[in-house]
Assembly symmetry: C2
Homo-oligomer: 353 residues x 2
DNA sequence: CTGAAAGCGCTTACAG
DNA sequence: CTGAAAGCGCTTACAG
């Protein structure tokens, strides 16, 4: 450092450029100087990475608090390869379902001093791959992938570079943990509920069938039907894409087909809401003329008219447990969390036939 | 570097520890070596920070693409003080309104190669302050604050450290740009619509009144009433907190007061949805017995029953323009974007008295 | 238990 | 137009 360009603030040498910052940044070196130890020692205390004598520890801790030192995660990341941040590949930052999951992730990570980096994959494997690259270039310590369309092989190979937690599938690999919700059981629950109410002609609005959740819910629907001795009728199944608009369209198709149904099980609440609108528009009453069951139990389900019976899946828990598992992976602990099972929440959109 | 601990991969010296990474990381230095120039030159080409001879430029660009070099934002951040990331203080990561704004921010930032760091302030000044600190410690290049409760003074002082874009208020300061939606006009529009339909007893469910948006919408309501010669009746105003649950409660209060109204203007769609439920539960028809207007025009408004008349406020544009303005601030350009004005979207929840 | 030194991957005056 | 060198704020072998 050129002596001529040096100044001093609080007894510390300061480069001119730093003076432009209104807040003088406190560095680890300043802490070390103030505490009369080496930077190495400060670092070790900070990270608990070695035993340090009690008196030095005390001196350092005092220096840290009087100086108000906050370690720079950027520098930490460069030097130690850790950034205390975890990347999250969500599919749409404004999804009502995943939004709640993000809140769960945020809450859990925050407890551990980690930050989340959210990027949206938009249900497109290419985009999701790009998201992973962005996250990797930002040197996140781990990546949480909320479902999406990345192949298992891709995920496993990512896990060789960085710990991965993925939702929406069951996968085993080193440094990879998956959290899976039992969608088959959920689909079964929804359908059984309708069956128990006396419905025999139960239509299903499925999600995009290349989406495992959609396929599983359909499977549960089918199984419940068969085991009730009703049998599966392909005529009664129309597929949507999990959006409200697609639910509306699907319900209209069902109506036009005249396939004579008394109930609809929609593979998510958003489609159920769309279907409800189609039904209302045709002058059909819910549940008087047709019973309706959704899936996810979004907050909106409670405020729909009539309030929607739905299969509860806790997005918040999903997010929280994904984050918790990631934190465990990062600490070298084998995660073991499992998602709570589906529960049927009965409201007013279903009734006996 | 100790020669003994050195290895070689693709002709480049590599530390042992790096071999553990499955993917050999390509550094700027490797690019320089391959192109036969100095690292400085590569950096300058990358940043367009100086004129470089055409041939070297070509060589470097070739090296970059054959090596698949991706600059490390972390190192960039440390060295240059830039991280190509902007922090976003949102209030709740799962808010249906702000969620859409986040999508707009993400889209715009992505175009410029920037990443967003989202943190939630939960409408609490203390928490929001903490969010700003976290963001600062991550060395974001700028911060976008979505409304919230930080004081103007706090915001202005933040702007001394880092460029700030804030929504939901009008503020002028160096390195600070604010984007403001005309909530007064929006409230006026909603109310005028009801007035034009012949309603005279128009109730209002306001948001939390310590929230400027809520106060402004109430003001617009009041102004419209007065200028229509109807006059303001405090009896007809009940306040909620922008949540569905509060809308439900507010509508019930209104009903119990027996204040005799034929229409309700709710300060946002979420409360309107809650109010609709309360109305339905009392057996009141919308709009037959009471007309209902919301605010924001969330996607959910379209799928409510009946589809909700609402004041459109484009959350997506809000986010997009906030991000655009930030990018301009970062380039030293004075931002000038303004939000589109409110528009009334008429659906089926309002009718002539 | 602790310090000096090198290094993480870049950027940016400085000096041609 | 371009390179050598120092530095960003930490961490981590290495050597006591």
């Amino acid at each position: 450092m050129n002596k001529i360009s040096q100044l001093s603030v609080n007894g510390f040498a300061v480069r001119k450029s730093e003076l432009n910052k209104s807040h003088q940044v406190v560095t680890l070196e300043m802490v070390a100087t103030k505490a009369g130890v080496s930077p190495s020692t400060v670092s070790r205390i900070l990270n608990g990475t070695a035993v340090v004598s009690a008196d030095k520890k005390k001196a350092v801790e005092e220096a840290i608090s009087t100086l108000g030192f906050i370690p720079n995660p950027i520098a930490r990341g460069l030097a130690g390869g850790k950034t205390l941040s975890v990347g999250v590949v969500t599919q749409a930052i404004d999804s009502p379902f995943y939004g709640v999951a993000l809140r769960g992730i945020e809450a859990e990570l925050d407890l551990a001093g980690y930050s989340a980096l959210f990027v949206s994959g938009h249900w497109d494997a290419k985009t999701e791959s790009k998201c992973v690259d962005v996250l990797l270039s930002r040197r996140v310590d781990g990546i949480i992938v909320l479902t999406g369309r990345l192949t298992n092989a891709t995920l496993k190979s990512c896990a060789k570079r960085v710990p991965i937690v993925v939702t929406g599938r069951s996968l085993k690999a080193p440094q990879l943990y998956s959290l899976h919700f039992d969608n088959v059981e959920g689909g079964r629950l929804a359908t059984q509920h309708l069956v128990s109410l006396g419905h025999r002609r139960i239509a299903h609005i499925s999600g995009s069938l290349n989406h495992p959740d959609a396929a599983d819910r359909l499977l549960g629907y089918r199984e419940a039907l068969v085991s009730a001795g009703i049998g599966f009728d392909a005529e009664l199944v129309v597929s949507g894409d999990f959006s409200e608009a697609s639910g509306l369209l699907a319900a209209r198709q069902l109506l036009e087909k005249k396939c004579d149904f008394s109930a609809i099980f929609a593979a998510n609440d958003q489609m159920a809401l769309g279907a409800a609108l189609a039904l209302h528009q045709r002058g059909l009453r819910i549940p008087g003329d047709v019973s309706l069951v959704g899936f996810d139990d979004l907050p909106a389900a409670t405020y729909a008219w009539p309030p929607l019976t739905s299969v509860h899946e806790s997005a918040y828990e999903l997010g929280r447990l994904a984050a918790l598992s990631m934190l465990q992976l990062l600490q070298g602990i084998r995660p073991g969390s499992v998602l709570p099972g589906p529960r049927l929440i009965q409201r007013d959109s279903t009734a006996a036939i």
